[in-house]
Each structure stands twice: as C-alpha cells, then as structure tokens.
C-alpha cells in the first residue's frame, strides 16, 4: 500500500518551528514610548488636598497649559495654589510672583483654573474670587469633569 503523503509532511526534512524574530520588538516599544511621551505631560503638582470636581455638560478643554495657575480647594477647605498650601492672603502675592516671570503676552492670557471640591461652600469660592479680582487675574476656569448630556 502506497499512500500519498501530504507534501508538507516530508519525512526528509524534519525542521522545527522557526523561532519568532524579536529584533523589531524594541522598536515597537520605543514607538509606544514616544507616543506616551508626546501625549502626556509630567505631573507637576504634588496634591496636598483632596478634591472632587463637579460635573457639567458644557465644559470646554483648556487651550494652553503654560499660562495656567492651578488653584485647588480641598474637601477640608484648605487652599493649594500650584504646589504650595496657602491662606487667602497668600493668593495675591503668589499671582504677582508668577506674573513677573511671564512675558506681557503670557501675563495677559494668564488663567486661574479653579479646581474646587464639589462640597465647598460658596463663601470660600467667593472669597477666593475676590482675591483674584484684587490681583487682576480675571480669567477663571471653573474646572469640572464632563457629564453626559441627557
């Protein structure tokens, strides 16, 4: 009996499975790495307060990151500006200090992003807002997360 053998089962060359070529693996991972380096930015603020921003349907993305002062109001009412805890009186000196380091055009664009906890009483917000008015930092972003529209 002479059966026809399938071609690929040739008995004369019993080769093993060729090893997967991993030479391009580092390149792939480097590509992913560069992607992440471009789309993300370094976390620059050490958060000293805990907060949860409110949600809204009309929120817009902030354009520039560079001319923004982050002002956090925690759930315990403490205020953190960029990287340091301050009292109400510390807001104006800090903004003036930042403004001195900026060019006039940047100083004009300077925006304060207010990241306040959703349970903060409006009294605190109004006090902070008044300080910002006195510091002539009038552009303000009420930071919030995006909520789905009903």
């Amino acid at each position: 009996m002479n059966k026809i053998r399938p071609r690929f089962r040739s008995s004369d060359s019993q080769r093993g499975v060729p090893g997967l070529n991993l030479a391009s693996m580092p390149d792939l991972i480097f590509t992913v790495l560069f992607f992440f380096m471009i789309v993300t930015h370094m976390r620059d603020d050490n958060l000293k307060v805990r907060y949860q921003v409110p949600a809204g349907t009309e929120v817009r993305k902030m354009e520039q990151k560079s001319d923004v002062i982050n002002l956090y109001i925690g759930d315990d009412g403490r205020i953190q500006i960029d990287n340091q805890l301050v009292t109400l009186d510390g807001i104006i000196p800090y903004i003036n200090k930042v403004r001195q380091t900026l060019s006039p055009e940047q100083a004009e664009r300077l925006t304060v992003s207010l990241k306040a906890d959703r349970k903060t009483p409006m009294g605190t917000i109004a006090d902070v807002r008044q300080e910002l008015q006195k510091a002539y930092s009038l552009k303000i972003n009420y930071s919030g997360s995006e909520a789905a529209r009903q």
């Binding site: 991993l22 030479a23 693996m25 580092p26 991972i29 480097f30 992913v32 790495l33 992440f36 380096m37 789309v39 993300t40 930015h41 370094m42 976390r43 921003v53 409110p54 809204g56 349907t57 009309e58 929120v59 817009r60 993305k61 902030m62 990151k65 923004v68 925006t111 992003s113 207010l114 306040a116 906890d117 959703r118 349970k119 903060t120 009483p121 409006m122 009294g123 917000i125 109004a126 807002r129 008044q130 910002l132 008015q133 006195k134 002539y136 009038l138 552009k139 303000i140 972003n141 009420y142 930071s143 919030g144 997360s145 995006e146 009903q150």
Partner: protein
C-alpha cells in the same frame, strides 16, 4: 585562485534585553505622567469694584434673578425650578431682551459649589444654544466651526450679561 579571507566572525551584540529596557522606560513614563486634560467653564471676572465708581443703574424690568439659597434650592424670580427648566426659561428671557437683559446670580455663603456649578453650566448652555442656533441660521454650520469674525458677530448679537452678587 580563490582567495578566501577566512575571518574570525565578529560576535553579535546581544540585543534581546533592549525590549526590556524600553519597557521599563515606558512604564516609568506611564507612572510619572498624567494624561488628564483640564476641562471646565471659562468665565471672565469683572475688575475689582472701584470706590468712586457709581453703581450702574439697571432697570429692574430687565433683570432676571437666579437665586440659590443655603439649602441649595434654585429659584428664578421667586419660582422654584430645576436646572433644565432654568436653561429653557433663560433662553426665553435672553431672546426677548437680547441687548438689555441681565442675569443676576445670588448665592448664599452656604450654597454648595456643585449646585452653583450646575447653575453656571445651565447659563452657559442657554447662551451657547442660542449662539449655535444663530450660527446655523447665518453661516449654516455650528458655532464652534465659525470663523473668528462670525463668532464676534454672533457674540455681539447675543452678549453675555451676567452679574454676580457677593454672597451674604
């Protein structure tokens, strides 16, 4: 005849660990960086009140008062309503009285920021819906896709007139 250069083969550099090294870099960047983009409602504050400045005389009939009390209850000119209704009501008011209307927001010191945020959101929604409608009628595309001049025109047509009272 055949000159055979018999060379000692140069040993290849073992690069199998490059993948691991770049993985470590990748993980480092994933941990230390953040991708969250800052979103929010961009508003403009009025300049600080001047001592000599006379308060603007606004006729009471143009003013719509949005009031938030210490129990987070929302009233518009004295009637209780929800944020959804607030948007619709405000749109009517703005439409009726485009250039003269004033939305006055009164809050109490105990009002929670979240409630205030929803009200701000409702006001922004009212204005942006109206501006969007106008943009579609004039330029045939949504407000966000209009040119800067068209936007300025529309903003001039529907100016934002909001006044915020200092909470007592």
């Amino acid at each position: 005849m055949f000159r055979r250069h018999y060379r000692e083969p140069v040993p290849e550099l073992n690069t199998s660990s490059t993948a691991d090294i770049s993985f470590m870099l990748l993980i480092f960047f994933l941990v230390t960086s953040s991708m969250d983009t800052d979103k929010g409602l961009l508003r403009q504050l009025p300049p600080p009140p001047d001592e000599q400045q006379q308060p603007l005389d606004i006729q009471q009939e143009h003013v719509t008062t949005v009031k938030l009390d210490s129990h987070n209850q929302l009233t518009l000119d004295g009637t209780l309503l929800t944020c959804q209704q607030l948007t619709e009501q405000l749109m009517q008011h703005i439409e009726q009285d485009r250039n003269e209307h004033v939305i006055s927001i009164e809050t109490s010191r105990e009002t929670s920021y979240e409630t205030y945020y929803h009200v701000q959101n409702a006001i922004v929604e009212a204005y942006s819906t109206l501006r969007d409608q106008r943009a579609r009628k004039l330029c045939g595309r949504p407000y966000a896709q209009c040119s800067a001049e068209e936007r300025a025109d529309i903003e001039h047509y529907y100016p934002q007139r909001i006044s915020e009272q200092k909470p007592e």
